[in-house]
Symmetry: C2
Subunit: 230 residues, 2 copies
DNA sequence: ACTAAAATCGAACGTTCGCTCGTTAAAGAG
DNA sequence: CTCTTTAACGAGCGAACGTTCGATTTTAGT
C-alpha cells in the first residue's frame, strides 16, 4: 500500500464526516434541515482549520471566521453555541474518524509484522491526507477544558493500545524482541507525529510520504524484529 | 552521565541567562540598573512560562502577568516594549542558551558513537531541566512573525547539523551504517521532543528520564551501528 | 535630612473581542 | 400568490484587551 492507494479510503470517509458532526451535536444546532447543516458545517470546519493553522484558534476572531466562510455572525452562531464549543466539535469529530479508520485497518488474518506496517502506514497517510486537521488537533489540544482534555488523553491511550497489542502479540509469536512495548509505541508515535508537526523540514529534505513510511518501517524493524532482516 | 550529574551544568548556565537577555535587549529596556533588570526579567520570564504553559501565550493577558509577577502594568512595560517583543525575547533567550550548551557538549577527542550518545543525552536532559521553556518554545514558535520564524528555523537546522555531522563522521569511520543522515536526525529529534511534549504519557508509563535516555540510545544504536551490539 | 533620579503605580484610552437579537430574506406548502 | 416556517443578517452590547502616562513611591548620593 502506498499513499496514492490510501487516499481514496480517506476521501470516502471524509464525506460522512460533517454528517456525523450533525447527528452528534443536533441539540446545539439551531438549523433544522440536515442538508443545510452538513453543507455549512463543512464550510465552517474547513475555514476554522485554515485560519487556525495560520494564526491559532485563539487568535482567530469570529469576524475572521465570518469573512472566510461568507456567513454572518448570526448565522455562524446557529451552528454552534460558542467559540469553545466549535473547538470541541472539531476535535471530537477529528478524533472519531481517526480512530475509526485506524481500528478498521487492523485485521486478524495478518501477522504482527504486517499489522504493524499497516497501522504505521495508515497513521502516516491519514495525517498526510488531513494535514491541517492533525496539526490543528495536536496544537489546540492544550486549549481544551479539563473534561475534554481527559477524553482526548483517553483516545490517545486507546490508539496507543492498538500499536501495543500488535507488539505484544508479536513478542508472543517470537516475531518481535521483548521490549517495553508501551515505550516503543510512544517513540513510534513521536516519529509519526513529526511528519505533520515539522512539515517544513521534510519538505526541505525533499522526502515524500512514501519514502518516510519506508524509512520509519526500517527504523522500527531494526529495533523490534527478533531476527534481523538481510 | 546521568540526569543528576547533568543538572548542575544547566543550573550554572541559567544564572547567566537573564543577564544575557539584558545586554541583548538593553535598548528596549527603560530600567537602568542591571541588578534590577536581571532580577525582574527573571520574574517576568518565569511567570510568562508558567502562564503560557497553562493557557498559551496569546491567551495570557498582561493583567495575568502583572498579577503573577507582582509588578504593575506600567512596570512591566519598562522591561519590554510590547507583548510580542516579550515573546521574541523569551524565544531568542531560550534558543541561545540551548545552542550554546549543545555545542559545548561535543568534543573532538570522543568518537562518533560517544558523541552521538552525548548530544542525545544533553538534549534530553536539558529539556528535562527546563521543561516549561522547551514546551513553550515549541508550542509558541508558530506565533512568531515571519522574520523571527525564519531565525527559529535556521537555529533548528544548525542544531540538526550537529547531529548530522556526527552521523556522517561515523559513516566515514565505518562505525555507522550509511543512511540518509538528515532523516535519521529528524526522527531522533522527534523522539527527543516527545519527552517534553507528551510528558503526561511518560509519567503514566513511570519512565524516568535516565531510562528514556537508555531506551532512545538502544533504538538509535539498533538502526545506526554498523556492527550490531551483542 | 534633603533632593534629584530611578522605578513603580494604576486609572484611563481606544480597540477589538465573543455573542445577542430584532429584523429581513428565502424556502416551501397549499 | 399568500402565508408560515426557516435561515441569514449585521449593528450593537458589555467585557476585556494591549498600551500609555502623569502621579507617586523608592532609592541612593550628599
Amino acid at each position: 500500500m502506498n499513499f496514492e492507494e490510501f487516499k481514496e479510503i480517506v476521501v470516502s470517509h471524509a464525506k460522512s464526516n460533517s454528517q456525523d458532526a450533525f447527528t452528534e451535536n443536533r441539540k446545539d444546532i439551531r438549523v433544522k434541515k440536515e442538508k443545510t447543516v452538513v453543507k455549512n458545517l463543512e464550510r465552517i470546519f474547513e475555514a476554522t482549520l485554515k485560519i487556525g493553522n495560520e494564526k491559532g484558534f485563539h487568535a482567530m476572531s469570529m469576524r475572521d471566521l465570518s469573512e472566510e466562510t461568507g456567513l454572518s455572525m448570526g448565522a455562524l452562531y446557529a451552528y454552534f453555541k460558542s467559540k469553545e464549543n466549535l473547538l470541541v466539535m472539531l476535535q471530537r469529530n477529528g478524533r472519531d474518524s481517526f480512530q475509526q479508520i485506524l481500528e478498521q485497518s487492523v485485521t486478524e488474518e495478518a501477522g504482527p509484522l504486517e499489522n504493524l506496517k499497516i497501522v504505521i502506514k495508515t497513521h502516516l497517510f491519514m495525517s498526510e491526507a488531513m494535514l491541517p486537521r492533525f496539526y490543528f488537533t495536536y496544537m489546540e489540544g492544550k486549549n481544551l477544558n479539563k473534561d475534554e482534555k481527559k477524553i482526548a488523553v483517553e483516545h490517545e491511550m486507546t490508539s496507543d493500545g492498538i500499536f501495543t497489542d500488535i507488539l505484544k502479540q508479536g513478542e508472543k509469536l517470537q516475531v518481535f524482541k521483548p521490549h517495553n512495548h508501551e515505550l516503543t509505541t510512544a517513540v513510534i508515535k513521536a516519529m509519526l507525529n513529526d511528519w505533520y508537526l515539522k512539515r517544513w523540514k521534510y519538505a526541505k529534505l525533499n522526502v515524500s510520504v512514501d519514502e518516510y513510511a519506508e524509512y520509519l518501517l526500517r527504523v522500527v524493524e531494526g529495533f523490534c524484529l527478533a531476527q534481523p532482516q538481510p
